[in-house]
Symmetry: C2
Subunit: 113 residues, 2 copies
DNA sequence: ACACTTCGTAAGCTTCTGCTTACGGTAAGC
DNA sequence: GCTTACCGTAAGCAGAAGCTTACGAAGTGT
């Protein structure tokens, strides 16, 4: 779905810091920006990207805007990741048996060509 | 620990395409680059980043280098994600009860001017 | 009505990033 | 030994991304 947006959004360290700050609960923009190494408008821009990725949502509260983590984007990312996980494990196991030492811990020292 | 590298690596679309190509099994660089919209050196550079992120590994096979998916980096990313998942769900539930309509059901009825 | 707070957005600039071409190094085949 | 195939790396460049300052809009309180 939109797992690609979520990945791109969480790639930036500053933006990830914004996102992780919301783990302690919903917060308005000013509170998020306080104590961060960038300006408040920068935080707003990051929040916009996070919102477009479905990672956060917001609702107005007076003159402020309270942001909070939205599981929707996280779920998409998780789904994509799980799609890899099982397949990656088995493929890695196969590789481990084929070339021990570099991969997992297989004990078949069959060399190929 | 190294989930940040994995995130940054998988953020780029082309690099993600390289990574997803390895899902069909281990492949040498040339085979990966064949049919891709970028040159072979570009693929090599992407593989380097993916390797540093712990997402892929490789072993030489004659004059070629066979790359395959390494669950190590994927696992780190998964761990970080799961750390959020539960907390995000409960927090989202709390938000849903607090302002029904925006969070609880399905869509974001964001008030946009 | 006026002042103050909170926030989003536009413009501009600097820095980072991904791609290409060119080159060197290593292993296999004749 | 010589040539060919495969791959990684360096240099250089065009495009993108993030940050700052400046401004405008919306809401609250006096």
């Amino acid at each position: 779905m939109t797992y690609d947006r979520a990945l791109a959004a969480l790639a930036d360290p500053t933006r990830r810091q914004v996102f992780e700050r919301l783990r302690s609960g919903p917060q308005p923009v000013g509170a998020i920006a306080r104590g961060m190494p960038v300006s408040r408008p920068a935080v707003s821009q990051h929040l916009k990207v996070l919102k477009e990725a479905g990672l956060v949502s917001d609702h107005p509260e007076g003159t402020r805007r309270v942001y909070y983590i939205d599981p929707h984007g996280l779920g998409a990312l998780r789904g994509w990741l799980d799609q890899f996980w099982d397949q990656a494990l088995s493929a890695f196991q196969a590789e481990a048996e084929r070339a021990p030492g570099s991969a997992g811990g297989g004990h078949n020292m069959d060399r190929e060509r």
